[in-house]
């Protein structure tokens, strides 16, 4: 369910690291809790983002919530498709629904985050 090649933040975001680059998005659990996503406030390319801080805001028909970056780095790419079709996050949160690609300050930081097994357990505990 939650892919093995991603690392997870307790605020329900994920990062997939490849070299110095990290792609981030929100988890399946997050999209499911939010419900139908109607708008994603995309971050700006070149902006510097700190881990544990807000990188974007997502509006669903139920709520508006912050997307917390799991890692620190400079944004080098954002998913422009989300501007017109934010619902792809609901459909494919770990694939087409990615939010941004960062050039990571320190790629090894991701190792401090939860792996898929830990995160799966974490959301089971949270939903109890």
């Amino acid at each position: 369910m939650n892919p093995e090649d991603a690392r997870y933040h307790k605020e329900h975001t994920w990062v997939k690291v490849s070299g110095r680059k990290g792609t981030i998005g929100i988890t399946d659990y997050a999209q499911d809790s939010l419900g139908d996503i109607v708008y994603v406030d995309l971050p700006e390319v070149d902006a510097q983002v700190e881990a544990d801080s807000e990188i974007s805001e997502i509006e669903s028909t139920k709520a508006t919530s912050s997307v917390i970056s799991p890692v620190s780095g400079k944004i080098i790419k954002v998913n422009e498709d989300l501007a017109e079709t934010p619902e792809i996050i609901n459909e494919d949160p770990y694939g087409k629904g990615w939010i941004a690609v960062l050039e990571l300050d320190n790629p090894s930081d991701a190792e401090d985050l939860m792996d898929a097994t830990e995160y799966t357990k974490y959301i089971e505990d949270e939903s109890k």
Binding site: V38, Y39, D41, E57, E59, T61, K62, A63, T64, E126
Partner: protein
């Protein structure tokens, strides 16, 4: 009692009718058109144009309501402007006929105060008439402020007034000043298809509003692809073949077909003969008045924008009623404690009382209740879910200190809270009042309940 009123905007015409009701012999002098800036160049024409823009935007999105559109929607600016002109003309006629029914005499021309008891009017036909007055009320209003380096030419560099009479929807529009007027025009022309960019010196749009309201409006503007650059100013401009190029203080360059300058209002206190009579004005040219709307010269009153108090039509009207009462022996004072205000952006903004920051700056202990419209069934049913209600109350007494609404019908919804504030009610009083379902007003009840953490349609907060 003979009263001469200079200016027939929402201050002057209301003062005229109230004075006449109280038995005065009233003459109103108007140098442009009855109804003043509000009716001819402000409140009403912008709302008429906005209605066209909004219905066009909604129609483009009609599919979400299950309606199929077969064919093309085309905003015809000539027809849109004509509709607006017709609405304005009807309202103007309405005021003229109110004047007639109350026996208010209208002199069309330019007035100068030649003494505390004589107003000299240069009539349109060139004649000059001296009108004797026991009391004078100055209600000359305001006009769009000019940036000296970027004067209006009515073509490429336009004011909010020029923008009401465009013959073509500009392909691109740069708006200098993202205050109330700038943001309304951004929504208006953005909705009609212009590519709109706004430039604002302050750090946020509608900086007079509560910060959370600005934040939400900025996001909604972004959704409409209206660009906003805050914390910057235009350093210089250059005319180009098909428009104008603006150079911003952050090094950015923006090319646009037209520039609309909406940096504020300049007060119409010049050329009235105020200096000769020793009528005190302030540093912005505002006529200084007390709460009875009297200037420092006995018998001379001033109301509306020209007093620089709060540049709002409804404040001018109330000041007019207060001035008329004081002149006619029904003493009254202005109270600016509860003044609702509306911004007709999309979504709308309604506010009353203190902003959160003002309350904090005054060292008040406050509690805040918030409620998102998207948690209401009605908001979903009408297809307008963006926005919220925020209520600020006094921690000790529970009394409401201010409220801020951004969302559908915010300009109408705010008045429930204005009445509550005027009556000194608490957030609990509103929360405990049954509100009809399904309505947007439920959002006010819920926000009031949220002051005590008791809103129903809010998820339980996780620890």
């Amino acid at each position: 009692m003979k009263i001469v009123i200079i200016g027939s905007g929402p201050g002057g015409y209301v003062a005229a009718i109230r004075s006449a009701q109280l038995g005065a012999e009233v003459t109103v002098v108007e140098d442009t058109e009855v109804g003043g800036g509000c009716l001819n160049r402000g409140c009403i024409p912008t709302k008429a144009l906005l209605a066209s823009s909004e219905i066009y935007s909604k129609a483009k999105d009609i599919g979400q309501f299950g309606i199929e559109l077969r064919g093309e929607l085309v905003p015809n600016i000539a027809n849109i402007v004509e509709r607006k002109d017709k609405i304005v003309a009807t309202q103007v006629k309405g005021i003229r006929s109110l004047f007639k029914s109350w026996g208010v005499v209208l002199k069309e021309g330019r007035a100068v105060l030649s003494s505390p008891s004589v107003v000299e009017v240069s009539l349109r036909d060139g004649a000059v008439e001296k009108i004797a007055a026991d009391r004078i009320i100055i209600s000359t209003g305001s006009r769009p402020a000019v940036i000296p380096s970027l004067p209006f030419d009515g073509e490429t560099v336009i004011s909010s007034t020029d923008a009401l009479f465009v013959s073509k929807i500009p392909q691109s529009l740069l708006i200098v000043g993202a205050g109330v007027i700038g943001c309304e025009f951004a929504c208006l022309f953005g909705g009609l298809g212009s590519d709109v960019t706004m430039v604002e010196m302050m750090d946020r749009a509608v900086s007079g509003e509560d910060a959370e309201v600005s934040e939400l409006l900025e996001r909604e503007l972004k959704k409409k692809k209206i660009k906003l650059h805050t914390g910057v100013s235009v350093t210089r401009t250059e005319k180009t073949g098909d428009g104008i190029r603006a150079f911003l203080s952050d090094g950015r360059e923006i090319a646009a077909e037209k520039i609309l300058v909406s940096i504020g209002r300049a007060l119409n206190s010049d050329n009235l003969g105020l200096e000769a009579l020793g009528i005190k004005t302030g540093n912005k040219g505002q006529i200084i008045v007390n709460r009875r709307m009297e200037t420092n010269i006995p018998g001379i009153y001033a109301i509306g924008d020209v007093t620089g108090e709060m540049l709002l039509a409804h404040v001018a009207s109330k000041q007019g009623i207060v001035a008329a009462g004081n002149i006619m022996g029904a003493p009254d004072e202005m109270d600016y404690h509860v003044v609702p205000a509306a911004v007709f952006t999309s979504p709308e903004i309604g506010s009353v009382g203190l902003r959160e920051r003002q309350a904090v700056e005054r060292g008040m202990k406050i509690r805040i209740g918030r409620f998102q419209f998207r948690a209401l069934g009605k908001a979903h049913a009408v297809g307008e879910i963006a926005g919220f209600v925020k209520i600020i109350s006094d921690e000790m007494t529970g009394q409401i200190l201010g409220a801020h609404i951004i969302g559908p019908h915010a300009s109408d919804l705010i008045h429930e809270i204005a009445v509550a504030m005027k009556a000194g009610l608490t957030a609990a009083d509103i929360a405990e009042t049954i509100h009809a379902h399904p309505t947007l007003s439920e959002g006010i009840m819920e926000a009031a309940a949220d002051v005590d953490g008791a809103a129903i349609h809010v998820q339980k907060k996780q620890n």
